[in-house]
């Protein structure tokens, strides 16, 4: 298989994994490892990322990996990091690679605790806006108006903003990123790698299976989320906020919503509210950039 040998991007993760066609979660993982290299240990919780860690005698990673518990990636990572430091293996990157559910819901306490303690761990949340691995249920990151199997009429409330919560807590490096802007993500992973303390990157990762769109549209949809202002790309080094992808001419949220069947149940009011969320959310962030 010459294609595989010639492959330079994504080489630290085997090919032929069982994630769905057009999976952003997998693409993000490949990018992360491209930057971090093989002196890395990855921890995944039960989630779609567990596919990468493997099944029985097979694994996807070229690096050591551990299947954590859903709410505990950050706690396992804390202990692993500390143990490695005791043994003088300080250069090893300890990476938590978790979904939105494992991060913003059940794993939030462990994550917040690990950040408070200041361990040098890199925590990457790939956000596909629902519990996908258990068959598309609502998470705290599910968008207002989105259908899931537990919000059959469209989710009545807005998603929670965990990056801002963690920023408020105080964290040396934090960034949002998107599957549509891989170079931007790569730069951020590089910064996380060089951070002396905890770092957190929250990556918007559309999911064809759960959002109900054709698999080849993953990148388009991720880009549209950024261009509508629904997903803002920024980073914060020691709390100093910077928008890394400024948007001049916003696309209407309507355009983003139309691309996915999961919004079919969303009412016009919900879509208006999403529009307001996008416009005001971006403005609020932009104001904070000027103020620092």
């Amino acid at each position: 298989m010459n294609i595989m040998q010639n492959q330079t991007r994504g080489k630290h993760l085997f090919h032929g994994l069982t994630s769905c066609e057009g999976c952003a979660m997998e693409l993000v993982a490949r990018t992360v490892l491209d930057i971090l290299g093989t002196n890395t240990v990855v921890l995944t919780p039960p989630s779609c990322s567990a596919i990468l860690t493997g099944f029985s005698r097979e694994t996807g990673w070229h690096v050591p990996s551990f299947m954590a518990n859903l709410e505990a990636v950050a706690s396992y990572a804390s202990g692993l990091r500390t143990g490695l430091e005791v043994l003088g293996k300080d250069k090893v990157n300890v990476v938590g690679y978790a979904g939105d559910g494992g991060t913003v819901d059940i794993g939030l306490q462990a994550l917040s605790g690990a950040i408070e303690r200041g361990h040098r761990i890199i925590y990457i949340c790939y956000d596909n806006e629902a519990y996908m691995n258990t068959g598309i249920q609502r998470s705290g990151a599910t968008s207002l108006g989105a259908w899931t199997t537990t919000t059959p009429g469209g989710k009545p409330t807005q998603r929670k903003d965990v990056p801002q919560m963690l920023l408020a807590q105080g964290i040396p490096y934090l960034a949002t990123a998107s599957t549509a802007y891989i170079d931007d993500l790569a730069k951020k992973v590089e910064k996380a790698k060089n951070t002396d303390g905890p770092s957190y990157i929250h990556v918007h990762a559309p999911c064809a299976t759960g959002w109900r769109f054709p698999a080849h549209k993953t990148i388009d949809i991720a880009r549209m989320a950024v261009q509508t202002g629904l997903w803002v790309l920024y980073e914060a080094v020691d709390g100093r906020l910077k928008i890394t992808k400024e948007i001049k001419n916003f696309k209407p949220v309507e355009d983003y919503v139309k691309m996915q069947k999961r919004f079919q149940k969303a009412t016009p009011e919900m879509i208006m509210e999403l529009q307001r969320f996008a416009t005001e959310g971006y403005e609020k962030l932009a104001e904070r950039v000027e103020n620092v």
């Binding site: 093989t38 002196n39 890395t40 240990v41 567990a50 860690t53 493997g54 099944f55 029985s56 005698r57 694994t59 990673w61 070229h62 690096v63 050591p64 990996s65 551990f66 299947m67 954590a68 518990n69 709410e71 505990a72 950050a74 706690s75 396992y76 990572a77 804390s78 202990g79 692993l80 990091r81 500390t82 143990g83 490695l84 430091e85 005791v86 043994l87 293996k89 090893v92 306490q109 462990a110 917040s112 605790g113 408070e116 303690r117």
Partner: protein, 401 residues
């Protein structure tokens, strides 16, 4: 040189961990375990112990972090009790299934509800099938010794399993007594520095740990765990021999007192065992053929060895310090099942189960005397089978409180 010092069970356990040179401690406070983790934090702060302390935000995280540290290749330690242990439950199976030689004292405290701060074994009994070894201690000396002992046992290649060293809350954890504290040199001679022998997370030796496992091999991996559990009985004996040679104190899977010709044997675990022995001694002087058996290792359960001793008695009184709701107490269930072969031949002893000492109630000499009296009655009445536990220290107004 070893030194004699006054210390309570918690201080002894912390001292044991210090002498075992644990490298990472991740812990969360809960009464009555708190002094252990405070003491270790001080040891590290005062550089009496070269370890890192992870101030986790929950017991769930405490055990996860301990596992992470163990997987990095360090000797790791945590301790808990009651609700904290229950919160860890999801993770205790991971520590055992990953075959990590972690030592974790449980300072026994009743599980709610209702809330109690005080001792019973309902917390540790909830973990009895999670694949950890469980050792119950009677005094502060045992608490100290068994921390050191347990690392040696856990790290043996034939075992590679985590160990709970159980201390009765307050009765042991907060009671001062004289303890012989071995010197660091003595402990170093017994317990070599930790070297991981199985799973590690190291980029130089990449492996995927704890992955989703298909029915095609799940059973086999569990069976490896079972074999290790079985092995640990033999390894315990070997470690015990070595311990005796190095420190002069001997520990068995259980300890018998006046059992040889005993007609009635009382089986107990933990601190109440001292009271049992004391009463047995008194009754022996009065010519009554009673004996005491203190069980140290509850997991794995040394059923065969136990049956050899108990099988010769006429009556066995098993005292459970946990309710065992819906069945007999857990200890009695194990003892009865160990005796099944003897019992079947119709010559086996009558086994009576007594639930006592729940939620911190003292198991007094009077309670034990009553237990013996009832067991004698059961033997005389030829009451072969007793399917119910007897709540021996129940107040008369039990139903109206």
């Amino acid at each position: 040189m070893a030194k004699r010092k006054a210390m309570d069970g918690n201080a002894a356990a912390a001292e044991g961990a210090r002498l075992a040179r644990v490298q990472v401690v991740a812990a969360y406070p809960i009464t009555p375990q708190t002094p252990i983790v405070e003491k270790l934090a001080s040891f590290i702060d005062e550089q009496k112990l070269a370890a890192r302390y992870i101030n986790v935000e929950s017991e769930h995280s405490a055990l996860c972090a301990t596992i992470g540290a163990s997987l990095a290749g360090t000797r790791a330690f945590t301790a808990t009790a009651s609700a904290g242990l229950a919160l860890m439950h999801e993770i205790t199976g991971v520590a055992a299934g990953c075959r990590l030689p972690i030592v974790m004292p449980i300072v026994n405290r009743a599980l709610p509800s209702p809330w109690s701060l005080w001792c019973d074994h309902s917390d540790s009994m909830g973990e009895r099938d999670q694949g950890w070894l469980q050792i119950y201690t009677e005094n502060a000396q045992e608490a100290l010794d068994f921390i050191i002992f347990s690392y040696r046992l856990a790290e043996d290649e034939r075992v590679l399993l985590p160990v709970n060293v159980c201390l009765d809350g307050f009765f042991l954890s907060h009671t001062s007594e004289a303890v012989i504290v071995p010197s660091q040199e003595e402990v170093d001679n017994f317990l070599p520095p930790y070297e991981p022998k199985n799973l590690v997370l190291d980029p130089l030796d990449p492996m995927a740990v704890n992955v989703l496992t298909s029915p095609a091999i799940f059973t086999e991996i569990k069976h490896q765990h079972k074999v290790a559990m079985d092995n640990s009985l033999q390894v315990f004996k070997e470690v015990s021999q070595q311990f005796q040679e190095n420190f002069g104190r001997q520990y068995g899977l259980f300890e018998t007192y006046a059992c040889n010709d005993a007609e009635i044997i009382i089986v107990s675990m933990g601190t109440m065992s001292g009271t049992v022995r004391h009463l047995v001694k008194k009754m022996r002087k009065e010519g009554q053929k009673v004996g005491a058996l203190k069980l140290t290792m509850f997991r794995p359960f040394p059923g065969r060895e136990l049956a050899e001793i108990l099988g010769k008695a006429q009556g066995v009184a098993v005292i459970d310090r946990s309710a065992g709701l819906g069945s007999l107490g857990p200890l009695a269930n194990e003892v009865r099942s160990s005796l099944y072969d003897t019992a079947n031949s119709n010559q086996g002893p009558v086994v009576c189960n007594y639930v006592a000492g729940l939620g911190g109630r003292d198991v007094t000499e009077d309670t034990i005397a009553l237990i013996i009296k009832e067991t004698v009655q059961a033997v005389e009445g030829n009451l072969k089978k007793s399917y119910e536990s007897r709540w021996i220290d129940l107040l008369e107004e039990a139903e109206s409180i």
